[in-house]
Amino acid sequence: MRQRSTFVFTMMAFGYAFLYLPIFSVVLYSFNASRLVTVWGGFSTRWYGALFHNETILQATGRSLLVAAMAATLAVAIGTLAAVAFTRFQRLRARPLLSLMTSAPLVMPEVMLGLSALLLFVGLQQWIGWPAGRGLMTITIAHTTFCCAYVTVIVQSRLAQMDESLEEAALDLGARPWKVFFLVTLPVIFPALAAGWLLAFTLSLDDLVVASFVSGPSSTTLPMLIYSKVKFGVTPEINALATLIVLVVTSLIVAATLVMGRRNANPLR
């Protein structure tokens, strides 16, 4: 017993080190005065300064945040509807089709999602003139489409766990079906919606491949910018940016954990 515990412990230490090594190295090098990764040129915050004066990076960040927020919101709306249709309409005839359309994006390589979305937009433009050109809107649509699938999975599992008698009780107490949804179902599954939104937001914010296919001339997103910078030489501003992202994410997660922990620890407020 003892022996394997040591083994498990060693593997865990190795695993976590593996997961965090690159992140620490990025944070470390963001404070490196030298431009070269190989040389430690002393502590400096110059790259943070450079980052905040780099219009291109700031603009790309803004665009990415905007697209991610819009795509996540749309995906939550559509994905929730799909999840409701799945779990609550037992005799839906289009069930297999809907199931296919919400599960296929999960197993579809990004290059295919990107290619197919682009060919659709090109084709649509040819036939009906919409969308005229490609840009943030086409990126948002493409992101919404694949994020939907993730939202559907999350919301669906929450809906399936939910005690259906809650909805029946609301009906029984005189609420019409749509009111039941807004007064009971939505508040109860809200954590799942929030989780779905966050996941969709992150997926969209992180996406390089799909955005590369469907973006237009002046709609370079942050991942596209990072990719081109990484491809054509090291830029330490990226380290600074990455450090900021890590900082924001970590503090958000720690805050969320604390809030949830407090709520769970103290049920008799």
Binding site: S165, E168, A169, L171, L173
Partner: protein, 380 residues
Amino acid sequence: MAQPGRRQAPIEPWQQPGAQPFLRICNVTKTFGQTYAVDDVSAEVYQGEFFSLLGGSGCGKSTLLRILAGLETPDRGRIVLGGEDITDLPPYERPVNMMFQSYALFPHLNVAQNVAFGLHQERMARGEIADRVAAMLDLVQLKDYGRRKPDQLSGGQRQRVALARALAKQPKLLLLDEPLGALDRKLREQTQFELVGIQERIGITFITVTHDQEEAMTMSSRVAVMDAGRIVQVATPAQLYEFPANRFVAGFIGAVNLFDGRVSQQQGEDLVFHCEALGGDFLMYHGDPLPIGTPVTVAVRPEKVSVHDTRPTDRRNAVHGKVVEIAYLGDVSIYHVATDHGQVVRIQITHEARYSRPHYSWDDELWLSWDPDDGVVLTA
């Protein structure tokens, strides 16, 4: 078994010739795929009754309750409540409320908001809602709990919130799905009487579903025993126990000895039946004459069987046997006695004095007897 003697002057509208039923269930059938959940069920419930649907799991009692609530639509049949046909009304338009087995308290709302939920749907004025909620919480003795969330309540408190919420709209009919099923045994007994007290105070007709015969017997004015989607008997608890209509009811309510045999002789209101397993002829009271040779089952409750050391001379029905099983239960002891021809008879002896030792031990020989009207002759 708790005795149903709570009513001073029993109100028995089903006995009165002119009484109009408040709820009529007419030939209701509901199938799920190939299986009949509710099979051509008809029943009548009177104003102010505490009516129970009793049966094992899958007997269709919950489906019938959900049909009354409007949560399931029957394939055939009508539901008439207070003269109005409500079969096609959706649940949110029925003057019927339900207390769910899981209580179904909205986890995101506090106790007061839960109770007020139905009132808000009626667009009742705010002040009025507050008054009603306060009155309801008072009724279920949870006056100071209005701001608690459901997950901060004990099981018993949740049960009472669910009751208050279902009663808040003052429904014509209250449906209770296993109202005490989630409570532990001690709390359940206490709550049974509370529930009856509340029902008598507000006078709303209650229909409850339960699989617990003791619960049904304690609380109900009448009980409908269900089996395989059908109602097999509707009667008061006492009638159900003493005059079961068939083998199923006799076996379902309490313990019973069932002796299979055939009618061998008819003597006025009595009949003689022959039972192979008991090895003889026995005299039983039965109102309707039955043709000779009719297969019948005689049901005798364990506590109605008397025990003797020697053959009793003054009893008509006596049989010799040997003790094969003893169970001491505190208030009573249960004995299983194997008769000479193989039938095992269950008997019950009450311990009336603290120092009374059981008279009989394993393999002791004894005589059992019962009077002609101690048992029921069943033909189904």
